[in-house]
């Protein structure tokens, strides 16, 4: 009961948000991964459950909601942030976020997601850093259905193709073609279209 009252501002924000469809897809993905036992399988019920048990979803929620210009939206947002657990301090999204729907981030410990663009249904594990390599700037562009393993670092102005898998603790600073699995330091291609290979990543063409 208290949980429901606490989540009222969030539900109102969610219903009024322009990103509503994306948040709904996110919630569906998280629901699929954790498979909770809920009394009712409604959208609001899932939202309440996620806010209570997974603070890292709160980060994604607030990042997707973004900023409001009107006084009503602003006060509702600050009320929501007071009422609910402060989200994870160790999970950062670069603003404004450009992340496709269905994003999943596990636990959100020491995770930085600063990408130029991220496609649909991406999966990010704890300890991942996506961002700048040096002061020259340039952030990665990441395709659809990309899986980034725990502790992997994806740095610099590079492109990660669709359906790519980046192994745990890998360091990726070059383009990754689609449908490939990469791993190691520096990252090498270890699987291409489901077949085991040993290839280097293509050198940057500059």
């Amino acid at each position: 009961m208290i949980q429901k009252i606490k989540a009222i501002p969030h539900i109102l924000l969610f219903k009024r948000s322009s990103n509503r469809a994306a948040i709904e897809r996110d919630m569906f993905r998280w629901y699929q991964v954790y498979k909770p036992r809920l009394p009712k399988n409604s959208v609001t019920e899932t939202l309440i459950w996620l806010l209570e048990t997974h603070p890292e979803f709160g980060n994604l929620f607030y990042a997707r909601i973004g900023r409001f210009s009107g006084i009503l939206g602003r006060s509702l947002l600050s009320l929501a942030k007071i009422l609910h657990k402060p989200p994870r301090e160790t999970l950062r999204f670069a603003e404004p976020i450009n992340i496709g729907p269905g994003f999943f981030g596990r636990t959100g410990f020491a995770t930085i997601v600063a990408a130029e663009k991220i496609g649909e249904n991406c999966w990010v594990n704890p300890g991942v850093a996506i961002g700048y390599k040096d002061e020259k700037g340039g952030m990665p562009v990441i395709g659809d259905n990309v899986y980034i393993g725990a502790g992997a670092k994806v740095l610099g102005p590079i492109t990660i193709g669709d359906n790519a898998v980046i192994g745990a603790n890998a360091v990726v600073t070059r383009d990754v073609p689609p449908n490939c699995t990469v791993g190691g330091v520096p990252a090498r291609i270890i699987k291409r279209d489901g077949e085991k290979v040993k290839e280097r990543l293509p050198a940057p063409s500059s």
Binding site: T90, F109, G149, A150, G151, G184
Partner: protein, 214 residues
């Protein structure tokens, strides 16, 4: 004088935890935890009573990981008094926020050093394991099983132990390795993907599925 008063206040503050500990069904396990933590951190205190050791672990600097383990062992007690005492002690002694333990079974004597960004989600974990910061033990994706870890396993900084594998007793996983294959007992693994470079004290060189690296 002031120190004496401070000590009494500390004892009163720690009393809810003692109450929870004495009435917990997992008391024996927590006692073993406390003994092993004190053994690892400060051996000069090995003659203290259990309550003194508990006080030392609660007030020592940078040992919030012990609190995580304590609350994990206590679990969700039944009864209003126990629940409110647990909430009170969680307010007084805040656990490390970036450490999550969600294994169904963890043996006694798990020690976690600087648990920043550590995720422990094993199927089963043995006795007296040692885990450092940035370690992830868990599944690769949602349709995957969790690892089983033996006794006295040492998992060093930044290592990832993923998938349905078994780690033998007394195994050592070196820093920043990624282990996705079984490891025999008394072995040492290193690298991405992890190669086994020592087995039963002798030098070896193979990847855990038996292939020899080029």
């Amino acid at each position: 004088m002031l120190r004496k008063i401070l000590n009494i206040i500390r004892k009163i503050k720690a009393y809810p935890l003692k109450y929870l500990l004495d009435r917990s069904p997992t008391k024996a396990v927590i006692e073993k935890d406390i003994q092993w933590w004190v053994h690892m951190i400060d051996r000069s205190r090995s003659d203290d009573t259990l309550f003194e050791k508990l006080m030392f672990l609660l007030y020592a600097e940078n040992l919030e990981e012990f609190r995580n383990i304590f609350y994990y062992r206590i679990g969700n007690p039944s009864g209003f008094l126990k629940k409110s005492l647990l909430a009170l002690s969680k307010m007084m002694y805040k656990p490390r926020s970036t450490l999550s333990i969600s294994s169904p079974s963890v043996g006694p004597g798990l020690v976690i050093m600087h648990g920043f960004g550590t995720v422990i989600d094993a199927e089963k974990m043995g006795e007296n394991c040692l885990v450092f910061q940035d370690v992830v033990i868990g599944t690769k994706n949602e349709a995957d099983d969790r690892p089983t870890i033996g006794n006295y396993v040492h998992i060093s900084v930044g290592s990832k132990v993923l998938g349905r594998i078994t780690i033998g007793d007394h195994a050592v996983i070196a820093a920043n390795s990624v282990v996705t294959k079984d490891m025999p007992p008394n072995s040492l693994a290193l690298g991405i993907p992890a190669r086994i470079i020592k087995e039963a004290g002798n030098k070896a060189e193979y990847i855990a599925d038996g292939t020899i690296p080029a």
